[in-house]
């Protein structure tokens, strides 16, 4: 017996009111040849108690990060989200509302998203922020198509954008899928051996529509050279930067060093990792890109009495008005997760953000120091500054090392050969505000044992 249907048992009465006698009458317009015959071949309905028991049993076989010591990051970050955030977003007025098409009864979410826009604008140093796209990868992809729309007319390299060669393949794949339809050519930018951007290679991007880079980059490197990007590419090429938002508690707001569009993964502010979704993508830009940007945006207005009020604005860019000429097909976004982000940001405040950034960088540096003392492993970009993560070069395959660490109850990091096939010995280790000093000691000890055993095998 299913529940949740208030009119169970009242079907007859309702049908009779309409002059019908059975549920079949309601589907009389479905022609016989396209009707489903028989019952759906699915399991029977369950009660709430049975569902929760099954959920606990099935999901209990997952290994949660919190059960282990974990150094897995690669763009997502273990964090602490204050308790009040989880409590507040379960309020049904937020949770069960739709996109605020009727502003008079949606002032709460509209104002909360306008505040979110302000929090993001302040964080990245740009005037405009939308109220989220799906994730960092689609944010990057939509930023590139936006850049082409804005700059193509004047561009010498038409329909062309440049992307760092370090970009993870999954992100690159999303970008390809989003840009191929527009006939956009993607060229890559080279990096120096120390992991920083090759600024000579960047000169080739001058005259193109846009350049997409990340800070910190996918190897965790904070690249000081990026403050020179805008002067090299010039004003007719968009400088698009993917950021780790927590790092901006210590790092300069990208809007202050020439970045035109900031994108990024919002997750570390407000959301658990949740197996990679739902997350929320940050999208912020200068006013020059405003009318070509994707997604919803809230503006402040007035009501007929002149009272302050909020509503969605600039919707003439969007699919429901502009249809195939829209700047994007995005409709549903990640509002509720962005709301969690806003709540977390509000509770942190400016100094709280700075402290959170310091906790993250401190864990990364303690790990750099400890791991650099192990003679059998190397840290190839040691001289650079890092945030959250760095590369360790092992005497053997990262895949083997991870398997060993797994037997020791440690999720050791990420095998970078997945991204860079030639780098079989590269392990990306990640640290966040949740990393404890004792955990770093444990990682160092295990890496020392594993790599020493390997070096011994080789010399023997």
């Amino acid at each position: 017996m299913v529940d949740q249907l208030p009119n169970l048992g009242r079907e007859k009465e309702m049908l009779e009111a309409m002059g019908m006698s059975s549920m079949d009458d309601l589907f009389a317009d479905v022609p016989e040849p396209v009707r489903t015959v028989g019952e759906l071949p699915l399991r029977g309905p369950q009660t709430e108690e049975e569902i929760i028991a099954d959920a606990r049993r099935i999901l209990g076989s997952n290994v949660a990060l919190g059960e282990r010591v974990s150094f897995l990051g690669a763009g997502l970050s273990r964090n602490y989200v204050p308790a009040s955030v989880f409590q507040l977003i379960t309020r049904g007025e937020f949770l069960t509302s739709y996109t605020p098409y009727q502003p008079e009864v949606s002032q709460g979410m509209l104002q909360a998203m306008w505040e979110f826009q302000t929090l993001i604008s302040e964080l990245v140093g740009l005037e405009v922020s939308n109220l989220s796209v799906y994730d960092s990868s689609t944010a990057a992809a939509e930023a590139l198509t936006c850049a082409v729309r804005v700059h193509n007319r004047k561009a010498e390299q038409k329909d062309t954008v440049y992307i760092s060669e370090l970009i993870p393949p999954a992100r690159m794949s999303v970008i390809y899928n989003y840009t191929q339809g527009g006939g956009i050519t993607i060229k890559t930018l080279k990096h120096n051996d120390d992991g920083t951007l090759d600024l000579d290679s960047l000169a080739e991007a001058k005259g193109s529509c846009g350049v997409y880079l990340e800070q910190p980059n996918p190897l965790g490197i904070i690249d000081g050279g990026l403050t020179r990007v805008k002067e090299i590419i010039g004003e007719n090429t968009a400088f698009i930067l993917g950021v780790a938002p927590v790092s901006l508690g210590l790092l300069e707001a990208p809007g202050n060093y020439g970045v035109d569009i900031v994108v990024g993964e919002g997750q570390a502010l407000g959301s658990p990792i949740t197996y990679g979704g739902p997350l929320y993508g940050i999208f912020a830009c200068t006013k020059a890109y405003l009318r070509m940007m994707p997604g919803r945006i809230v503006g402040k207005s007035i009501d007929v009495d002149g009272k302050e009020a909020f509503c969605l604005t600039l919707s003439t860019r969007e699919q429901h008005i502009r249809r195939h000429r829209a700047t994007s097909n995005i409709c549903t976004n990640e509002t509720l997760i962005a709301l969690m982000g806003a709540m977390h940001m509000a509770l942190l405040g400016p100094e709280g953000l700075e402290k959170l950034a310091k906790r993250n960088i401190a864990a990364c540096y303690l790990a750099k120091e400890k791991l650099s003392q192990i003679p059998t492993i190397a840290i190839p970009h040691f001289q650079n500054s890092h945030f959250n993560e760095f590369v360790v070069e092992l005497p053997g395959l990262a895949a083997d090392c991870l398997e060993y660490l797994d037997t020791q109850g440690v999720i050791g990091g990420f095998d970078l050969s997945t991204w860079y096939p030639k780098k079989g010995n590269w392990l990306l280790v990640s640290f966040s505000d949740q990393t404890k000093a004792s955990e770093i000691e444990l990682l160092a000890a295990h890496l020392a044992v594993w790599s020493a055993s390997l070096v011994k095998e080789v010399t023997a």
């Binding site: 699915l42 029977g44 602490y80 069960t96 999954a170 790092l251 942190l348």
Partner: protein, 499 residues
């Protein structure tokens, strides 16, 4: 009025954090990258912050607040057990790069969802990766594009959409690089087979359509339309936004579709959260399966060497990359949190999902009937008409307020605002574009007969309002009619700080 940014108390009062595990005094970052000024975020304590957001929530209308007949959006009740399940550490605290033996539980649920969605829509293969309906559309169209490329049919550059289609259909196909051919609907709101025949050809890649269509009407000629498109060598794409109407009664597969997206945040009760997150899996027939975004979940019998953290002793679940995958549309594996909520919803109904759809259609027809009867009784039935002729509606129906507009100068928007004053969320207005002064009403299956009766009475009361009253509505809401033109002309997209 309370502004978040007017809270500026002592620093660090929101919540206190442990100190960094080492001193950061000696950590060097490039001097040009040292932050010059912290963001002007508020300094707000937890009690103030909780009150601020609670106050904001009191200024927002959700399904929990009241009846939410927003057509095309399927605003059904969101069962609360789904929220409880989503907080289990085995879903919230796992990473998409963990090895398969760490995530057997998630993979088992993904597999069950892939199978279930495939069965419900009559499709052979499913991916859960797209994170929203529009992204699902885009993903399926990309698969169709690669299918034709693989067959060297590069001349198939056009996608056909009816003029009543959701705006995302043409937007998604255009994003993939297709040219859009819009065909007019017939007078009665249905597909015009002649119009369709006249535009198909060897340049047709696909037709995108939803059935029931955006007028809430079942397309009786759907099989014929599919034949016309297939005979021309094109593919049929099913926009699953209206799937709630037909589950268990018919399926896109039976109707002749090759690909479909599902809106898990509509049909399967993922909360809409003020605009997201959603989840937009797609299902395809076998000839398109090799192009799906990867990876998808498969299962095989457990082997002795498997690291046993398996869900059961029988099956081992693993990722599989489709042979000619289009790649990724989201960085990881989609909105897993939404998929698992919807799994809980599915388990609640199981093979009785048909009952859910039947009640959705029952409620829509009953409400339409009640509104018409009530209007007749009160003598205002000449103020509106059906958006299109209806024998029986599906999960939603449209009314045109064009007669009212003509008689009184008041239209769909005014009635919508009048309904806000009665304590309801307004139906969708001015969509589909083919119906003048359109109001699209979708009650869903989780509303009681009493609620529907009451809404019909109030709806007719609104029609009977004095024109001035209606013109001035709403008056009981937190703010009155908002000036959207002002917002666009005086763009204020963030809080203006005193310098």
């Amino acid at each position: 009025m309370s502004h978040l940014f007017e809270h500026y108390g002592a620093s660090g009062q929101g919540y206190s954090q442990p100190d960094p595990i080492i001193s950061t005094d000696n950590i060097q970052i490039p001097s040009t990258l040292v932050r010059s000024k912290l963001p002007r975020w508020p300094r707000i304590s937890e009690p103030e912050m909780v009150r601020h957001y609670t106050w904001l929530s009191s200024r927002n209308f959700g399904i929990d607040t009241g009846f939410y007949p927003l057509g095309s959006c399927t605003m059904k009740h969101n069962p609360r057990i789904n929220e409880v399940i989503a907080q289990i550490p085995g879903i919230a605290d796992i990473h998409p790069l963990q090895p398969e033996h760490h995530i057997q539980g998630t993979l088992a649920i993904f597999h069950e969802m892939q199978e279930m969605l495939g069965i419900c829509a009559g499709m052979d293969a499913v991916t859960l990766q797209p994170v929203a309906g529009a992204q699902g559309e885009f993903t399926a169209i990309r698969c169709i594009q690669e299918y034709f490329r693989s067959r060297d049919e590069l001349q198939r550059t056009k996608v056909i959409v009816p003029d009543s289609a959701h705006g995302t259909n043409p937007a998604s196909a255009a994003m993939a690089g297709f040219e859009i051919v819009e065909i007019p609907s017939r007078e009665d709101g249905r597909i015009d087979l002649d119009a369709l025949s006249s535009v198909v050809g060897d340049d047709t890649a696909a037709m995108m359509i939803t059935n029931p269509n955006t007028l809430g009407l079942f397309e009786p000629d759907i099989a014929e339309a599919a034949s016309i498109v297939h005979d021309a060598g094109g593919q049929m794409y099913y926009d699953g936004a209206n799937f709630n109407a037909i589950l268990g009664r018919t399926s896109p597969g039976i109707m002749g579709f090759d690909a479909v997206h599902y809106n898990l945040h509509k049909t399967f009760s993922q909360p809409h959260g003020g605009g997201g997150p959603g989840s937009g899996p797609i299902g395809v027939k076998s000839h398109l399966a090799e192009f799906l975004p990867g990876p998808v979940v498969r299962k095989r019998p457990v082997l002795p060497d498997d690291k046993i953290t398996a869900v059961n002793t029988e099956w081992w679940f693993h990722w599989h990359e489709p042979e000619n995958s289009i790649g990724k549309v989201q960085q990881w594996h989609g909105n897993s949190g939404a998929v698992i909520r919807c799994w809980a919803y599915y388990r609640r109904y199981g093979n009785q999902l048909k009952t859910m759809s039947e009640h959705a259609v029952l409620n829509a027809n009953y409400l339409r009937h009640r509104i018409i009867e009530e209007a007749k009784e009160k003598g205002v039935s000449d103020l509106f008409c059906d958006g299109a002729p209806v024998e029986v509606a599906k999960h939603e129906f449209t009314l045109s307020l064009a007669p009212m507009k003509e008689k009184m100068g008041l239209g769909a928007m005014d009635v919508a605002k009048g309904l806000l004053d009665k304590g309801y969320m307004a139906p969708t207005v001015y969509f589909p574009l083919v119906v003048p002064e359109c109001m699209m009403i979708e009650p869903t299956e989780t509303e009681s007969k009493d609620t529907l009766d009451e809404f019909a009475r109030k709806f007719v009361e609104v029609l009977q309002e004095d024109p001035d009253t209606l013109h001035n509505a709403p008056v009981t809401t937190k703010v009155r009619r908002v000036d959207e033109v002002y917002a666009a002309r005086n763009l204020t997209l963030s809080y203006q700080f005193d310098e």
